[in-house]
Symmetry: C2
Subunit: 291 residues, 2 copies
């Protein structure tokens, strides 16, 4: 059944709290710290992509849901750790104080660790999906999140601060830091949905191009966006002397490049023999977004 | 084939570096930071227990090895994060500077995240084990490492600092903080080895009692051990006003209690219809250890 964006978001947010119930025990603070960041909103882009790719390849929503929520947990843990004083030292995220501001630094580190662990716990529970397919999806989730995926991107980012890097390094960094989890979303959705190799590849191709377009838009918004709409301070890239598409190309050329990659993402959908209208609509929304 | 302790350690250490090759890419620092702590020695208690439990239940060593190494990666990540300035702020671990002292705080946080992620990556690779058994073991690994396992214990520890807690809370905290991964080791080994429910339960019972005995010995060594043998500063529990078995019971009573629990661990082995001599020998070694 084709869901609307709003339906997807509400489904995902309900499941996220179901998967992390607050229990009355001496470690209750950890559930609260996890739920604080899980419940802080956001676009839920990754879980939506995962569920929709499962749908278009004919899979069942309930088989994809644990992976969708796991991916959002991994995304959320990465934001909590990224905001820490030793990392980006951000005090505001999605318009709310960051996790360590509310719960303290030690609890924020542990809440991140716990979310990452919970992700693998929920997607390894017995499911209606075949164990082989489930294991393959777990392996993809871990690979895209680790040293050669998201965490690797954060390391490159860290190593690039206050340094002159090439545009190639910038692209490489983003392909891991933001790109890897978007790729995980689309490809895991395809695998759980039952896509064959060429379908899974098309999902990956779509994700790669969408990921770059998404990142360029992010860099543009840090310069042109309003703090109110974004829920975080703008101009922080410049303040931290971060390398971005805008510092390389300026706003106008970045906008053109963003359009180019979103067109490539749309083109990748042509290789998928299913109803991809929702996905095409999402690409448009993400590229024109103001937050 | 029955391995000696030394054979197990060398097998595990070789595999650990195999699983985390240093690759020549812009994020090379992360592999180095991970390997630094993975290679820093330690007793390799958890992976040895896992491999041995797999063996006594008739499983294949190569099926258990990814889980053994994954568990050691999870144990290692927890030490890296635990040593951070925002947590225990330790500068020395196993006689070497801690991870954040060598690589910086941000890289140490990411190295911990990466080790936790890698753990799930290596144990979800295709293996000779049935996918059902593999999934079950992954789920146990995650459960014992998370909010209701190791991370939960760290939260209780954090919340107990500078507070008067009951001996019940102390036991609860340790059952999670140290106990959970020891239980994971024995029970996952049993599951991969093909144990039935009663065998897996006996493995869990052995682990629970060994875990408590091990922790009491740890608390005793923080008071009576030599810094040279331990490779870390002693007396740190007292300095941090940590609640320990020794602060509750004194050294002598703690020693008696340690003996009591190790006897219970040995008794649990009676319920296992296999050759448990190696495990019994390990209990003896751990309880009499000076480091």
């Amino acid at each position: 059944m084709q869901r609307s964006l709003e339906e997807y978001i509400s489904l995902i947010e309900n499941k996220l709290s179901e998967y992390n119930p607050v229990r009355d025990n001496p470690q209750v603070k950890i559930y609260e710290a996890m739920n604080y960041s899980l419940g802080a909103g956001g676009k839920r882009l990754r879980p939506i992509l995962l569920l929709e790719f499962c749908r278009i390849f004919g899979g069942r929503e309930e088989d994809a849901m644990p992976f969708a929520c796991a991916l959002e947990m991994i995304h959320t843990y990465s934001l909590i750790h990224d905001d820490l004083p030793a990392m980006d030292n951000d005090e505001l995220r999605r318009g709310k104080p960051t996790n360590h501001i509310v719960f303290g630094e030690a609890a924020a580190i542990l809440a991140g660790d716990a979310l990452l662990t919970k992700a693998f716990e929920i997607c390894s529970k017995p499911s209606g999906c075949s164990a082989e397919r489930q294991i393959r999806a777990i392996n993809m989730l871990a690979s895209f999140s680790g040293t050669d995926g998201m965490v690797g991107g954060q390391v490159v980012d860290l190593e690039s601060e206050n340094k002159d890097i090439s545009m190639d390094t910038l692209r490489y960094m983003h392909s891991l830091k933001t790109g890897a989890l978007i790729k995980a979303a689309c490809m895991i959705g395809a695998v759980i949905g039952g896509a064959d190799e060429s379908g899974t590849e098309a999902a990956g191709m779509f994700a790669e191009n969408l990921g770059i377009a998404f990142q360029i838009r992010d860099d543009i918004l840090d310069v042109t966006g309003s703090e109110e709409e974004l829920g975080k301070k703008t101009g922080s890239d410049e303040k931290l002397k971060k390398n971005t598409y805008v510092t390389f190309l300026g706003v106008k050329k970045s906008q053109e490049l963003c359009r180019e990659y979103s067109d490539k993402a749309l083109k990748a959908l042509d290789d998928i023999d299913s109803d991809t209208e929702f996905l095409a609509h999402m690409v448009g929304k993400l590229v024109d977004r103001n937050s």
